[in-house]
Symmetry: C2
Subunit: 183 residues, 2 copies
């Protein structure tokens, strides 16, 4: 059985966490790994059901996602989380619980996110129509020592994924890509 | 990768679900399977945190445990749940979500459970000191078509586990035990 681990993406809303999670998951599956992206509607409706945006509720949400990632990683799966996870302490607790943990800071300046504002959420948050919005009306604690930083304002998704893959190879979580000379 | 599946134990408090879950897990690990018993304090403190004993809260709890079991089973793990899961509809939803699902009714007459009352919970429930206690002041919907029934009032733990193992072999979830003639 391959060694399981968790790639924990953290960053502001709209920075590209879910997109990177899916693309990274695809590359890892091509490399023969079992992958689970712990993200999306089922997490929100089932694991996070009834939770709000208080610090305690956000921490509970992260602890649940971390538990799922920990169980999957324990059994050889690569789990990928794409939750904002704004609080450093909750991320540290997730790292402790999971053990084999790669923190990736999905970095994008908030000015760029406000300008893009694909879902119109930043505008609503600035207007106060959405409260407790991370980066506007709720804190985001920037990771102090992430394992990888990707800069989605200047990198393509492929570039960000390649940099995460490179780090996973360096840490021997995955084998180096087979030589391309074969082709 | 071996085919994952979930053994879903259901039954009253004190009927022996957790004990059977642990023993069954041990046997399956000896057979070379990756096993996760989705039970215990971490489930209660993390997945079930904040939930009470209303039908809605119980259903939410079961949906979360089912999600965890589903993800593990998807990746080749044998997940074992030991939650009371009193409502047939929630168990049916778990079956649908998980797919590879073996329902085991851990049966023990409530009279026997009241007489044993290892944790003193039934006495408290009868006195009304504990409310919403399954089988006393809250319903338990007996499974109508469980895959296996074990009768813990008359069977030993080993006997119950052997009957579950036999069913798993019949359904080709696990290979038959290696011949004992070798020894």
């Amino acid at each position: 059985m391959s060694k399981g681990f968790t790639v924990w993406l953290t960053g502001l809303s709209g920075a590209g966490k879910s997109t990177i999670a899916q693309a990274l998951g695809g590359v890892l599956q091509q490399r023969g790994r079992s992958v689970e992206v712990v993200d999306g509607d089922e997490v929100r409706t089932t694991l996070s059901k009834g939770l709000g945006f208080s610090r305690e509720d956000r921490d509970t949400n992260i602890a649940r996602i971390a538990l799922v990632c920990a169980l999957l990683s324990k059994h050889g799966v690569v789990a990928i989380s794409a939750a904002i996870s704004p609080y450093a302490q909750a991320r540290a607790a997730a790292r402790r619980r999971i053990g084999e943990f790669v923190e990736v800071y999905v970095q994008c300046p908030i000015g760029v996110l406000k300008a893009r504002d694909v879902k119109g959420l930043y505008e609503k948050a600035v207007r106060g129509e959405i409260t407790n919005f991370t980066g506007i009306s709720d804190p985001y604690e920037t990771p102090e020592a992430p394992d990888v930083v990707v800069n989605t304002d200047v990198e393509s998704v492929e570039e960000s994924v390649a940099r995460i893959i490179e780090h996973l190879e360096e840490r021997c979580y995955i084998l180096p890509s087979p030589s391309e000379e074969v082709a």
